[in-house]
Amino acid sequence: MTHSAIDLPVTADDRRIARLAAMAIGLTLAEAAIPSPIPGVKPGLANIVVLLVLLQHGWRAAVWVSGLRVLAGSLLLGSLFAPGFWLSAAGALASLAVLALARHLPARAFGPVSLSVLAAWGHIGGQLALAGAWLLPGAALIKLLPVFAAAALVFGAVNGVIVARLLAVPEADRRTPP
């Protein structure tokens, strides 16, 4: 019997991404417990974490956190590879694509609120595109579009303000473990 130890070097980056992804997953689970009048209209609290990561640690880290959140979140909710998982993945993907472009907007004029609103629209856009193409072809999704767009605007703005508030807290005051 050979004893072999597989060494997986863990960098500080990995730990940080894992910690932030865990926060996003926690928010996803908490949000799943909130009753919603219309399926699909959710506050998207995990996007707060994704946006914070994007602004503080860059786009690559945000992609990791968002991907881990979708994967582990659906694993914990028991919806892995169910339609809801694919909708969630499509939304996260579209949202990240939008953020990849939007983060190059001049930061002096466009703050977290803009990014959050645009990301929320990316999210709902990706979800509705997949739903329209795959799950409900021919259904009158267009009739629901204003509802989803308005919800994305409101929740996106609120989440953006939360991100801006969190960023405004001085680094030293944050309770982050070393």
Binding site: A109, G111, S114, L145, P146, A149, A157
Partner: protein, 120 residues
């Protein structure tokens, strides 16, 4: 600064887009003509442009229909439960008020019909 200049622009533009979407998705169904039937036969087709009144006779009596610019309703009907009267004003394409006991119906039509046909 929680809100920057561009953020306010994004929010305003977003509000505009939401309103435009709502008008685009929901507003297109306003009707412009009304079709009145008695016992299944079309007795009157009128444009919703100016105030008009019609009286249609059925097995129970006379159904009075009132038309105003953009809307129409059954003003009075001899049916016992008054369902078609209680529906009030109809404005959207595809809406209909049926006075079944008196065999009179009122249907709003628009440019784009929401349905090819409706079976009752």
């Amino acid at each position: 600064m929680l809100l920057r200049a561009g953020d306010i622009g994004v929010l305003l533009a977003g509000g505009g887009i939401v309103v435009a979407l709502a008008v685009f998705a929901w507003g297109g169904g306003r009707g412009d003509t009304v079709v009145i039937r008695a016992a299944g036969q079309v007795v009157e087709t009128a444009a919703l442009t100016h105030p008009q009144r019609f009286a249609v006779d059925g097995p129970l009596g006379t159904t009075r229909i009132e038309i105003e610019p953009g809307r129409a309703r059954v003003a009075a009907d001899p049916s016992p439960r008054q369902l078609c009267v209680k529906q009030g004003w109809l404005t959207q394409s595809g809406q209909a008020a049926l006075c079944l006991p008196n065999q009179v119906s009122l249907e709003i039509r628009g440019h784009a019909s929401a349905y090819d046909t409706l079976g009752y």
